[in-house]
Amino acid sequence: MKVVQTVEPFNIKDCALLVIATGKSAQNLRELRDNLITIDPGSIYYHFWGTLLRPRFDDPEYNNDFASWVRHNLHDAILAERLGVVDPSEFNEIDDLRHELIDLIEERLDESELVLWTKVDQQFYFLRSQIVVFDTRKSIHTPEELVDIIPQLSIGSIFYHFIDAKRRTPEKRDDFRAWLSGFDERYADLIEELAAIDPFFSSLTQLRRMLSLIFQNMLGDIS
């Protein structure tokens, strides 16, 4: 069966991230909390989402830099676990995420008799990013084309359409699901499969492989 085309083509974009120092750092938990109160929202975004565009492996221990620093530099396993399960996509605004982080840290400060410190060369450096988005001038008209196109996408495109979209769009979902939902119900299962992907425990390369496999499995039968 041929899909009747009533949906706008999917324009493939790409992006590159520029990492910028904010000039702020923390050497202990209290400083981390104090900086979180005032830090640029872009920094919180970067330390959750931007980690995906940085050197990493397929099995990262934590999904954000705060949890990782608390575990490996302050050696506070309890707080690291609490910070590690924070799902940034649950928060509509970065400020809501900021308050969640501050609450968790303050709770831990209340529980602790000592403020944990780390060495001066292991401070937490607050970074932020600037994202440059550009059009690849490639577009696709039917979901079936995704089967061939996904393996060829750069990791910047994967980041833009699958990760960044969750922050950028009002529906807080990736661009693939948003586009597929414009078609008829036949893609409902595919949308469900995509929604089940947890991107925080994969590298972008692995994420590309996962997406490729899902599109291959789900759309290979249809086309």
Binding site: L18, I20, A21, S25, F57, Y125, Q130, I131, V132
Partner: protein, 412 residues
Amino acid sequence: MTSSMLDAYAQIVGETVISHLRQLAEPLAGMKVVHVNSTKNGGGVAEILHRLIPLKRELGIDARWETITGEGEFYECTKKFHNALQGTPVGISNTLLEVYEKTNERNAEALRPQLEEADIVFIHDPQPAALLNLCPNRKGLWIWRCHIDVSKPYRPVWKYLKKFVVGFDASIFSLPAFAQSLPHTQCIIPPSIDPLSEKNMDLSQDEIDSVYSRFELDPDKPIILQVSRFDRFKDPLGVIHAYKLSKKFIPLQLILAGGTATDDPEGEMVLNETQTAVADYPDIHVLLLPPDAHRIINALQRASDLILQKSIKEGFGLTVAEAMWKGKPVIGGDTGGIRLQVVNYHTGFLINTPEGAALRIRYLLHNRDKLREMGQKAKAFVMENFLITRHLREYLTLMVALAHNEGERIEL
């Protein structure tokens, strides 16, 4: 090399990466970009510029590379700047500082028309930093690229240099810990290695094997290697200690390969101490290599089973990425940029003592599957993160971002 450098890199990193670069560079087409440093030969900065400039030109950017020239006292002064920025307390006389400023003034006379016309000027390190104020009619954006570890600079010297640096539109540091208190955007761009350079290119098995006879190595014993200057911060004595602890359990040979340090009295001292410490150990080879022995080091790295970089203090330590590119796991000191490259338990191990190094040497040499797996991961990690193509991408991103200056998100 093929006629197109981009094509040559595409064979290594893939077409997708090169296509990404082309698209990112499109809005920069025709832009006049000038890089300025103090030498065309020798040193990591010149090495990277030799590749970056033609790559940028191939991407349609009108990129040029200029160097400033000076006399002996100028380089004496800038060498002291370098040491001071890395934290050594160095006194610099007013006479030398005058030479620094006069040399920049003289170079500005020759370079001014080109620099003032440029859309973007990259000034590398402190040597040409004073040019900014000497080009008052500049129309473009000026970026200071600092390649030095300035995490704990000697403050009097940094205070002097800062007055030249504050006026730049942006600066670039290699690690977040190096960023300073400055009134402009400070980007973080780690350095990179060039997979096509003599240091890193593929070699024939014959060329790799030639190091056995050349340096009287035993082909039947595992080789561990550290490539570094003879410098206390590289801890060659700690490496020898780790070797001695390991060889009780496993037969092996150690190579310490580095350059002579004729202008560094401390280096001579460390070299002498190293040679004394290895006197009774025929399986330790201390190799003094000339600065251009890139292919030999490449072959030694490829002939080794694993690589050590047991630094106590390290700026970035690109020898780590060079070793990893050859598919070798690295046992590295838990410091500076080594932490960014050695992902503990993935691409090697981070250690703090000779004992820690010895433990990991034994572990890897007894677990060959693990050694191979880590080596493969190390190479893949460098492929994605520490090759010149990533470095170029970040330069292009910065140039686009500065040219647009539209806040956190720039949609082209």
